[in-house]
């Protein structure tokens, strides 16, 4: 169940809108206290969510703690999920991202030196993620699409999502008006969304 192939196929399906009803049912069961449904959500979402947290925090251990906090929060707040606002994996990944950014900001607020570990180093210590050839190829295609975005679009999006900067902070750090930041993020997300749609069609 942890295979990225399954994960990716699930993402494609949700991108096509095919899992909205399933997501709503899953979250209703979680809200009713069904731990098995939470485990199902965890199996679907945790590999991608952990990857996001590791990217934000640069620390596998802290990232796993953020994942733990987020799934406990998802358990508490499952009734607030609204399938009209996107799939469940995206919902819980956004919670993981928020908890990871909380930790990043708390770290920064204490003036700790950011010991950004390399991706490889940060991922060391956990079990290897088995990834099928096809799944890896698909992921690389998305990654390639990301790399093909104009640098300023990719940078704006990554500063927002992985560094947690606000539009104002991005505008200041990149020395452009806020309106330009909006446009860059919008174009970047449209392009990435179209990649998922192409993969799904």
């Amino acid at each position: 169940m942890y295979g990225s192939e399954a994960m990716f196929l699930w993402l494609l399906a949700t991108a096509a809108g095919g899992r909205g009803r399933d997501d709503a049912t899953l979250l209703r069961r979680i809200a009713a206290g069904d731990q098995g449904s939470l485990r199902t959500l965890y199996e679907r979402a945790a590999p991608v969510a952990l990857a996001v947290a590791v990217r934000i925090l640069g620390s596998r251990g802290e990232a796993e703690e953020a994942v733990q906090d987020a799934f406990v929060q998802a358990w508490q707040r499952a009734e607030t999920y609204d399938e009209r606002r996107g799939p469940a994996v995206g919902w819980v990944t956004s919670i993981v991202r928020s908890r990871a950014l909380d930790r990043l900001r708390a770290r920064a607020s204490l003036g700790r030196t950011a010991q950004a570990m390399s991706d490889a180093g940060a991922l060391a210590g956990g079990p290897a993620q088995m990834e099928s050839v096809e799944g890896r190829q698909r992921r690389l295609r998305v990654h390639e699409a990301l790399c093909q975005l104009p640098e300023e679009q990719r940078a704006s999006l990554e500063l927002a999502y992985f560094a947690g900067l606000t539009q104002k902070e991005i505008a200041e750090s990149t020395a452009v008006p806020i309106g330009t930041v909006k446009t860059r993020c919008r174009l970047a997300l449209q392009k990435l969304a179209s990649i998922l749609e192409e993969e799904g069609s």
Partner: protein, 255 residues
């Protein structure tokens, strides 16, 4: 906010780059009855965000991550915040909850204080609106005699809804939360509980997107307290001087 304005800002919302007040405005817009492609625009932006996340090499969590999550889940049926806790009936429940909270707090005390201080500091710094309460919170955080109280649902001590930064020596306290969601039809109110006396109402906890701060008046704490509680009230606070719906409670530290 118009649908056009929503669609212009939705990419930044999906990417998490909007400040809390603006994000709350977008979320409020979605509650409206009619839309011109707002949900479609939101879903497209979220698909882009999903693709961004999916471009990273997936990382399987270690097995203990799920085991730790399981340990933190309360038993079925016991984790929900009670729909309503009447004041008269709540004294015993609060006493039971307090004993549970005290024991839970004792277990966590040794390794939790530094983390609580970090989290509170970041939460307080991110707040806007109530500058006086913010200054008071920062002052309390700088005080070596300050302690941290977790306000949790009476039915589940492991699920914090807010924190209080308390200095029992100087009778000062501030409540901060980044979990509670703002509601247009309700306010959150702080209460001070002492012995069998009726709970004394404190400040309202207000803020955007669940981040909020409330200063507890020192006069309420001068004679000490047993607990601090948080309730859900009609706009403007409790209409009758009693908590309408108790959401969370935490033990007040002794000086």
């Amino acid at each position: 906010m118009t649908c056009a304005e929503f669609k212009e800002a939705v990419a930044l919302y999906a990417a998490g780059a909007l400040p809390p007040t603006e994000a709350a405005q977008l979320e409020a817009h979605l509650e409206g009855p009619r839309h011109e492609g707002c949900f479609e625009a939101l879903r497209e932006a979220l698909r882009g965000v999903e693709a961004l996340a999916a471009s990273l090499p997936p990382a399987r969590p270690r097995d203990e991550v799920w085991r730790n999550i399981e340990k933190r889940l309360s038993p079925r049926g016991g984790r929900r915040v009670p729909a309503s806790v009447a004041l008269a009936a709540s004294a015993a429940a609060v006493a039971i909850a307090l004993s549970w909270l005290v024991s839970a707090r004792a277990r966590r005390q040794s390794d939790d204080a530094a983390r609580q201080r970090e989290l509170c500091l970041e939460q307080v710094r991110s707040l806007t609106g109530d500058e006086e309460a913010q200054r008071e919170a920062l002052s309390l955080l700088a005080s070596p005699s300050s302690q941290f109280v977790t306000l949790a649902a009476p039915s589940d001590a492991t699920q914090p809804l807010a924190r209080a930064i308390v200095d029992p020596r100087t009778h000062r306290a501030v409540v901060v939360s980044t979990v509670l969601q703002p509601r247009s039809d309700r306010d959150y109110q702080v209460w001070v509980i002492r012995g069998q006396e009726p709970p004394r109402p404190g400040a309202l906890l207000r803020g955007a997107r669940g981040t909020a701060l409330a200063q507890v008046a020192p006069a309420l704490l001068e004679r000490g307290a047993d607990a601090i509680a948080l309730s859900l009230e009609p706009p403007g606070g409790s209409p009758n001087g009693k908590p309408t719906q108790v959401l969370a409670v935490g033990p007040f530290p002794k000086s």
